[in-house]
């Protein structure tokens, strides 16, 4: 029985659950953590981004069978670090979201970036965020909010 953690909560998966099931659908359909969105199913849009051991991963391309015993997974619902809270505050302050559907994924990628680099350059932001599509094109505000959050952390 695979065992891992989602937002610090232990998850036990029975052997009867097919190993090809992507983490995304375990989160959404089984655990009802619907903040993580489905966008493309091919790791092309970043909408389903979660943190696996602190690193951004496209959960639509993480099959259950690949999740190692004890893996720590964080979704938008469990994103509570200082960096994350600063980002969410900046997202609100700058009114980043439009339709909002991609923003959980954007925030997961941004949180991973800010955790390793509090003051990212434009190029750093491009590198970290280019895998996250926003069809409303809120990109300029995402960029500004990441910098704003970094500044607020000192």
């Amino acid at each position: 029985m695979p065992i891992f953690f989602v937002n610090k909560v232990r998850i036990d998966i029975a052997a009867s659950v097919p190993g090809d099931t992507p983490l995304l659908w375990i989160l959404r359909d089984s655990l009802n953590l619907t903040g993580t969105k489905y966008g493309c199913g091919k790791a092309l849009c970043g909408t389903c981004t979660v943190l696996v051991e602190g690193q951004p991963a496209r959960s639509c391309q993480v099959p259950l069978s690949s999740i190692k015993l004890g893996t720590d997974i964080t979704t938008i619902e469990g994103l509570k670090t200082r960096e994350a809270l600063a980002l969410q505050a900046a997202w609100e302050k700058l009114d980043v979201p439009q339709c909002g559907y991609c923003q959980s994924g954007q925030l997961m990628s941004a949180a991973a970036l800010l955790t390793r680099n509090r003051h990212p350059s434009d190029a750093d932001i491009d590198d970290a965020m280019a895998g996250n599509i926003c069809r409303c094109a809120t990109y300029a505000r995402i960029r500004a909010a990441i910098k704003d959050a970094g500044r607020s952390l000192g």
Partner: protein, 754 residues
């Protein structure tokens, strides 16, 4: 059995899992939460563990739970609860454009509510109460009309409620109504104060004023000022609920196998491959394919992919984009239906000193909203319920009702946030909703009624099963006299009608679909001899409106040709336009503002890597809003290029929420740039060649230019902003590329290397 369990127990705990403990919570905050999820097929409905309260779903600003007691609902647009919360019922879909902020702002303004006490709720389907005032008796969202049609209506709703609260306070305090003030949710007179909630019950007994007095704009505290979006918090914490997130007790998920060619039917279904697969519940043939209904999305998709379907392709569309274009080119050699005819364009063209003759090609485009098409439907005896990001309530309600043999009033629509739409969710044929209806109808035929089903299109379905912005072909001929004045303009447009066969088909007059020629037939430039005509061929590719509709193509051909004429006349493109727009104050206002703010005519800073840099400009009015954009591009030696900066000026009348206006311009530019740089749906052998974001490229953050938006100050009634930011960007980029390289690109997407 409990195949997936979630518990707050430490990893590798020795304590045994409590078997069969209670499971009924959606959150994970409980001290000990225990989930069970059905994985193996079996019979029972076992996924009904969680339920999203649909009433909560489209509620943007969460407030305190309303205290018990009657609510004060003076009209269909707001309710005031005993806890003083003001719930504004928004009749338009929130798909990113800000309706859930803008419309409540109007109520809060006239009610003198505190913004913090305002909550937002999506309206149900009711064409009598919630019709779009620009659309007659239809409820729906589109044409950038939400603010424009609601501006007076929602202000009056707030003003009526305020007058009734004031009347109630006047009675209670025995003072004249005009001695009472209302500020930020507090009703007061002298030292006496009352909250809205305290007065609500008494206010409900006051007569509803027929035409309450509206504020003098100089007294506005919210309109024209900064009001934060009502949905930013929910959308920054993953708590906003979209259709994709709805979960109802017993709900199943449907994934559909669509035919490889448009219009093909099902000849034979071999579902043998589904035997033994987990979670499969139903296989249902629907008009456009075969649905697999299962316990979860992944079960349904696995099942869908295991189907072996023999398609009946005799009815299928068989052509490719190249065939369609060849047909359009042939059509363009013959006169079309006349959309506008001033003077004698042909005669003037024949006598012109200098002539330009240009042809333009526009591909099909997918909307590609981040949330692929989906909806939830439940069909039971005598009624149906639909959960959807509803953009076309009246049309969808009628279509679903007809499909299920119900009256429209028997179909309840629950409004949810849409994860983008860009027009897609206002489908003239209610396509995905009817697909969902066909599924539950098929299940009913198998004796299963009342089971909610969520239809989920995969990204591939969303990109390949329709609907699309039509492909177009334009031919534009124009002539200058010896003095460089435009003396002739002949514009021919070829492309499918998006209104034909739909609920708004009566807008087609004399064979002219106005959405095919908007932006061309109303060309603002003063040209005496002007002729615009249209061919609307019928093609088997499903089409519909796409953000900014006709202007997606007409702005490009007209604004690049006018630029070309300016250069041919040896004149500055801004001065040349201004001379032709002398009687168009709205266009002039944005043209002058953008030229000033962009430093038009001043040298651009050189690039550091030797790239050629240049500016380009375009101006276009759509949905009564004029937008001008100046673009700065850098063209590299290998013919690749970047769009570095965009300066945008917009005249949308009174900007109710300037920051939302700026956001819509930024987003419109980004959306338009995706189409200008990458967007192309190619039809191959009757189907779509692209499938996902790998081959249907869209703009990413590293490609987003710096954007500065300037709003023309105006006291005129507000006009739309959701779409008008889109049209100018592609022609402005093409004009900048021409300025940098001398090459005129007339085919979208723009490739200098082609």
């Amino acid at each position: 059995m409990n195949p997936i369990r979630m518990s707050r127990r430490p990893f590798m705990s020795t304590s045994p899992t409590a078997p069969g403990s209670a499971e009924s919570t959606a959150g994970i905050q409980g001290r000990r939460v225990f989930l069970k999820v059905m994985a193996a097929a079996a019979g029972g409905l076992t996924l009904g563990i969680f339920s999203v309260d649909p009433a909560r779903a489209a509620t943007a600003k969460s407030g305190k739970t309303a205290a018990s007691g009657p609510e004060f609902a003076p009209n269909a647009f707001l309710r005031i609860a005993p806890d003083s919360s003001v719930t504004v019922i928004v009749k338009h879909l929130e798909m990113g454009q800000g309706t859930y902020t803008g419309l409540p702002t109007l109520v809060a303004e006239e009610l003198d509510a505190a913004w913090s006490q305002v909550k937002v709720e999506g309206a149900p389907a009711d064409a009598k109460l919630y019709n779009n005032l620009q659309w007659g008796t239809m409820q729906g969202t589109g044409g950038s009309s939400s603010m424009a049609n609601s501006f007076e209506q929602y202000r009056q709703a707030g003003a009526a409620a305020r007058a009734m609260l004031v009347a109630a306070a006047a009675t209670r305090w025995k003072v004249p109504a005009d001695a009472i003030t209302v500020k930020r949710g507090v009703v007061s007179q002298g030292d006496r104060k009352a909250s809205f909630g305290e007065l609500a019950a008494a206010a409900a007994k006051e007569p509803v004023p027929a035409s309450p007095k509206l504020k003098d704009p100089k007294d506005f505290v919210y309109i024209g000022k900064h009001v934060p979006r009502s949905d930013s918090k929910a959308k920054s914490t993953g708590t906003a609920i979209y259709t994709q997130d709805v979960k109802l007790p017993g709900m199943l998920t449907a994934v559909v196998a669509h035919p490889p060619r448009f219009g093909a039917g099902v000849k034979n279904i071999d579902a043998g491959g589904l035997k033994g697969l987990p979670g499969i519940r139903f296989v249902v043939e629907v008009p456009n394919g075969v649905a697999v209904v299962a316990n979860s999305f992944w079960d349904a998709k696995r099942g869908r992919d295991a189907l072996k379907i023999e398609w009946d392709e005799t009815t299928g569309f068989k052509y490719s984009s190249s065939d369609i274009l060849a047909d359009y080119k042939r059509l363009a050699t013959t006169p079309g239906k006349v959309a506008r005819n001033d003077g004698d364009a042909a005669g003037a063209l024949a006598g012109a000193a200098h002539k330009l003759d240009a042809a333009y090609e526009f591909p099909y485009l997918a909307h590609a909203a981040m949330e692929p098409m989906n909806c939830v439907i439940r069909f039971d005896a005598g009624r149906a319920e639909v959960w959807n990001g509803e953009q076309y309530q009246t049309v969808d309600q009628a279509a679903v009702a007809k499909s299920l043999g119900l009256e429209p009033a028997q179909v309840t629509l629950h409004q949810l946030y849409a994860g983008g739409s860009f027009g897609r969710r206002a489908n003239p044929h209610s396509d995905y909703l009817l697909e969902a209806a066909a599924i539950v109808k098929g299940m009913a035929a198998q004796g299963k009624r009342g089971i909610p089903v969520k239809l989920v299109w995969t990204r591939e379905d969303d990109m390949q099963a329709g609907y699309f912005r039509p492909a177009y072909y334009h031919r534009l001929q124009a002539g200058l006299d010896a003095g460089g004045n435009v003396v002739a303009w002949q514009h021919r447009i070829v492309g499918q009608s998006i209104l034909d066969g739909g609920p708004m088909a009566d807008m087609i007059k004399n064979g002219i679909d106005p959405t095919s020629v908007e932006g061309a037939a109303n060309l603002p430039y003063a040209i005496g001899n002007l002729h615009v005509d249209l061919h609307s061929p019928q093609v088997g590719v499903p089409v519909q409106g796409w953000r900014s509709v006709g202007s997606t193509h007409t702005a490009f051909s007209t604004e690049t040709l006018i630029d070309e004429l300016a250069v041919a006349a040896g004149k500055d493109p801004v001065a040349f336009r201004k001379a032709l727009l002398a009687s168009q104050p709205k266009h002039l206002s944005v043209l002058e503002l953008v030229a000033d703010k962009a430093g038009w005519g001043q040298p651009l800073a050189p690039s550091r890597n030797g790239a050629k840099r240049a500016r380009g400009i375009a101006v276009h009015e759509s949905f009564d809003t004029a937008v001008a954009q100046v673009v700065e591009v850098s063209v590299n030696a290998d013919k690749s290029f970047t769009v570095d900066r965009v300066v945008c000026a917009v005249n949308c009348g009174l900007a109710v929420n300037p920051d939302v206006v700026r956001a819509q311009m930024e987003g419109g530019i980004g959306y338009g740039l995706s189409a200008a740089l990458f967007g192309e749906i190619t039809i191959k052998d009757g189907g779509v060649a692209q499938s996902n974001f790998n081959d249907y490229r869209v703009l990413r953050i590293n490609e987003m230019p710096a954007i500065v938006v300037h709003i023309v100050p105006s006291a005129a009634a507000p006009t739309g902003v959701g779409e008008p930011g889109v049209p100018p960007i592609a022609p402005a980029v093409a004009n900048a590329l021409a300025a940098a390289t001398g090459r005129r690109l007339r085919k979208l997407p723009l490739h200098l290397s082609a």
